[in-house]
Amino acid sequence: MSWYQPSEIGFAVRCKLADIGRGARLFVKLLTLMGASFKRFGLVRDQIHFLGNYSLAIITVSGLFVGFVLGLQGYYTLQRYGSSEALGLLVALSLVRELGPVITALLFAGRAGTSLTAEIGLMRAGEQLSAMEMMAVDPVQRILAPRFWAGVITMPLLAAVFSAVGIIGGWAVGVWMIGIDAGAFWSQMQGGVDVWNDVGNGVIKSVVFGFTVTFIALQQGFEAQPTPDGVARATTRTVVVSSLSVLGLDFILTAMMFTI
């Protein structure tokens, strides 16, 4: 009832600023811990195994089906203009530039981000993080940093797998099902896709999304209320916040990369 009182507004703003400040400090700390986590690469390796290998199935299957659908839908539009040979170009460009990084990031947030948040939130709720602090072990360095860097490494690899599998899916639909000439399919693609401008920028996007999604998941788990309810809400927020940030960032990155 009293949201319009100046003191309430001031308090709310102060809380938000403190949140942002804590988040930024955590982010900078994770960045500076890069060397420390790569020195104990075993921890990062186990996290890559957990985040990457177990996500591979969902990424491959979704990539394949996205490629199928792009092939069918793209053909439907292109054949109206008598240029169905450009299907390869359409599938490859839309996958490499947009759909690969973005859908991978969304799936990654749902598949891996939530498990990170729940795991760390439960550690917080079970006071494992406090126990580590008592033993003079920095939980950020021991728990968060390996997961963070594992996520950053995993994301571009998953996005590349997604795009590659998607292109194969588009090829399967275009060449086998519809009967487009395979040579035209590949040559149009190779004529129109640029290594640095398209593939390279897609990789940059997926790296940025890797930072975003992993960091949001870790931060939500780290700051979760140490109750079952708090962990549940943190997990939900991970999906919502990281999906929205990925889509928003994607717009900004696309505007920066492809319009200048």
Partner: protein
């Protein structure tokens, strides 16, 4: 560092990801076909370059022999000045002519190069002036209409 049974799977995952990137670079973007041939630069002046873009191909007899490096406007002659990078292994006579062509009906535009008969070859820094502009559809249509109008009133064969 300690070995673990995860090593195999993580290694496999990284290899699959790397292979996917290589596949994207080679198969979809065709990195290998980027020529690292050394080139020489000649310029050409066109009245109208149409939809020509930097990196468009220069073809002679259908074979890519070079790329468009840059397109600028020359405000002395009011023409477009197109810088071409031709591959060193190909030599062309000095009086070769250039044409802006379109691949397919709606495809992208490229420069077609027709060899001349001069004994001397093009060298770096030369300017090619025998050029033919891109076909502008609007000009074609207006020419067609004017020539129709110049023919006088159409014969009234469909008069009832």
């Amino acid at each position: 560092m300690q070995r673990s049974k995860n090593d195999v799977w993580v290694g496999l995952f990284v290899v699959i990801g790397a292979l996917a990137m290589v596949f994207l670079a080679l198969q979809s973007a065709n990195l290998l076909s980027l020529s690292f041939q050394s080139t020489y630069r000649v310029t050409a002046k066109f009245d109208n370059v149409g939809g020509l873009k930097p990196k468009s191909a220069v073809r002679s007899g259908g074979v890519v022999v070079g790329r468009v490096e840059g397109i600028t406007f020359d405000d002395k002659t009011f023409q477009a000045r197109v810088a071409l990078a031709l591959e060193n292994r190909y030599a062309f006579p000095k009086d070769s002519s250039l044409k802006i062509l379109t691949s397919g009906l709606l495809g992208e535009q490229y420069i077609g190069m027709e060899a001349g008969a001069d004994a001397a070859n093009l060298v770096a820094g030369d300017t090619i002036s025998a050029t033919q502009s891109a076909v502008v559809l609007e000009n074609l249509i207006s020419q067609f209409l004017y020539s129709k109008a110049a023919d006088g009133p159409a014969p009234d064969k469909d008069k009832k």
